[in-house]
């Protein structure tokens, strides 16, 4: 009986949490177009989410591109196809690894930070203080982070893609002794053969930019949701942080699959 009650309580908590998450998401999006608009907070968050994540995004992109070129070169040498390393690196980076890696990095670095900051504000009654002073915490705290993440994730992804393709170029040039011009020709070849939307936007770019836009929403809303639900003092802040990173990472990987399926159906090569 006690076990059943515990299961019932846990299930109810999950359902309420999910409901709260959707209500939070709805309000956060709704407040994008509501006054007052906290422009300064948006710029601050763009700096925290975007500019301050540049280092890790460039670094992970560059080394991922290098390792991708290295691993594929080993396989492609068997078929004498090493000249197409550029194709493989660019396709992998732009369509998949760029968005997912940038998403996971930002989920770890920024998502945890947002959850910790809002969670600390919750346990020290600063959220209540906002409410008391007639400010909607969702409008003040969540919406600026959502806007900043929606804008900065695609930008970080582009930078991640470029860093990865440059990383592949380094391996192509110094390990495989491929001319740089050939490497970049295969990169462009891959992009152009992937098809175009409206005759000028490469399909690869659409894949690579739709995903981080959605990931930005997932990361910011997940972090704010767990931050706002924080209870139990500093220990609760730690729990909220961990839950944010785990949940956002899983959601990124799962939604990546479904977005890819949808985009492949909508934008055939």
């Amino acid at each position: 009986m006690a076990l059943l009650q515990r299961i019932n309580a846990a299930a109810r908590d999950k359902v309420f949490s999910l409901q709260e998450a959707f209500v939070l998401a709805w309000n956060a999006f709704r407040f994008i177009f509501a006054r007052p608009f906290y422009g300064q907070d948006v710029i601050q968050q763009m700096d925290a989410i975007g500019v301050q994540s540049l280092g890790i995004v460039v670094l992970t992109g560059f080394f991922t591109g290098m390792v991708l070129a290295l691993q594929s070169a080993v396989q492609m040498q068997r078929f004498g196809a090493t000249a197409y390393v550029g194709s493989l690196v660019s396709a992998s980076m732009i369509r998949e690894l760029g968005p997912v890696l940038a998403g996971l990095m930002v989920a770890g670095r920024v998502g945890s930070g947002i959850a910790a900051q809002i969670g600390s504000m919750r346990v020290t009654e600063q959220i209540d203080a906002l409410n008391v002073m007639g400010t909607d915490p969702i409008k003040k705290l969540v919406t600026p982070r959502l806007i900043a993440a929606l804008l900065m994730l695609p930008a970080l992804t582009v930078i991640n893609d470029v860093a990865g393709i440059f990383g592949g170029n380094v391996i192509a040039k110094y390990y495989l002794q491929l001319p740089t011009s050939l490497y970049w020709a295969t990169v462009w070849d891959q992009i152009s053969t992937g098809g175009f939307v409206l005759h000028f936007i490469p399909n690869d770019f659409v894949h690579g930019l739709v995903k981080p836009f959605i990931f930005g929403g997932i990361i910011s809303l997940t972090a704010c949701h767990f931050g706002l639900r924080t209870t139990g003092g500093t220990e609760g802040v730690g729990v909220a942080t961990t839950r944010t990173v785990v949940t956002a990472s899983i959601l990124i990987l799962v939604t990546d699959y479904f977005i890819t399926q949808a985009l492949l159906a909508l934008l055939p090569a």
Partner: protein, 316 residues
């Protein structure tokens, strides 16, 4: 017992009695101090000594007839038969009213729902049943946006100050002004300086400092200044003296008294510090077992023969 007014009670009612009562209390306290070395058992409960000490607290700051509340006016805050439960009952059938200009202290043991009442007044929580009226509005029937508007007439001082640690002291106090007024920056700075002076802080020394660099007492005072920034009609204090040393506790209590006297702000103070409660409150609500078991003046409380009240007072 609610609103108990015993006409036969002669305990500290007349202002003329006050000096005598205070002298009695002093003698009583001195004798108690003398005995303390060899009579540790005296720490248990001595109702008369407690009453005398409390009488001293009451008379130290105001006369018994000095009642700032305006009972002819509508209550500013009114709770009618309010009940609330989470996983267990928190409040059951709680009713009381706060008139303009008065200070009501809500006291009780830890975990009895004192802070919950303040959250109900602010509509940070919604009651399961009953009615909470603030400034004539049934606050639970308001939309979220309307509740935000009503809250602009209330200032709140939180137990942990709840200052925004990403902002300076100036920005913290200026926050409600920037949010809800059209004051220009010069007017905002002047208002912030005025409020800092009210709470006895030097604006030039603290305005640009981060809250984390201030002591607990100074943070509380900045919290009061922020609560006062928008010139609210109601001030709510949640454990304003908890965690502070006796001297700072006295300073904060004096500050609340000063606000009551000088600005005639209606206040609700949640506190476990019965000494402070007796000093600043016009009426005291004692919470016990989810209910208000006493609501009346400090004098009536000390005069009460109710065993729980006596035990509660004796505990201090």
């Amino acid at each position: 017992m609610m609103g108990a007014d015993d006409p036969n009670d002669t305990t500290v009612k007349e202002p003329d009695n006050a000096p005598a009562a205070a002298a009695d209390a002093s003698d009583e306290e001195r004798r108690a101090t003398d005995r303390r070395g060899d009579d540790r058992a005296a720490d248990v409960v001595h109702p008369e000594r407690v009453r005398a000490a409390i009488r001293k607290e009451i008379t130290a700051d105001r006369d018994a007839d000095d009642d700032p509340r305006n009972t002819d006016a509508q209550p500013v805050i009114e709770l009618r038969d309010v009940s609330l439960a989470f996983d267990r009952p928190i409040l059951t059938g709680v009713s009381f009213e706060v008139y303009p200009g008065e200070t009501v202290a809500i006291v009780g043991e830890s975990g009895t729902g004192k802070s919950t009442i303040v959250k109900l007044i602010l509509r940070l929580l919604v009651a399961d049943s009953g009615e909470v009226r603030v400034l004539g509005n049934d606050i639970e029937k308001l939309t979220y946006e309307q509740a935000l508007e009503i809250r602009q007439h209330m200032g709140m001082v939180f137990q942990g100050s709840a200052l925004f640690d990403s902002l300076t002291v100036f920005e913290n106090i200026a926050y409600p002004l920037r949010e809800h007024t059209n004051l220009d920056e010069d007017a905002i700075e002047e208002r912030v300086r005025e409020k800092l002076r009210i709470v006895d802080l030097d604006p030039d020394q603290v305005m640009e400092v981060a809250p984390s660099e201030l002591s607990g007492g100074m943070q509380k005072r900045v919290g009061v200044a922020r609560g006062l920034a928008a010139n609210p009609k109601i001030m709510l204090y949640d454990e304003p003296t908890s965690g502070l040393d006796p001297l700072t506790t006295g300073t904060i209590t004096n500050l609340i008294l000063k606000l009551q006297r000088d600005l005639n702000v209606t206040s609700v103070v949640v506190t476990h510090d019965i000494r402070s409660a007796f000093r600043m409150a016009t009426r005291i609500a004692l919470l016990h077992d989810q209910r208000i078991v006493f609501f009346g003046s400090p004098e009536d409380m000390t005069a009460s023969d109710d065993p729980y009240i006596q035990t509660f007072l004796g505990g201090y």
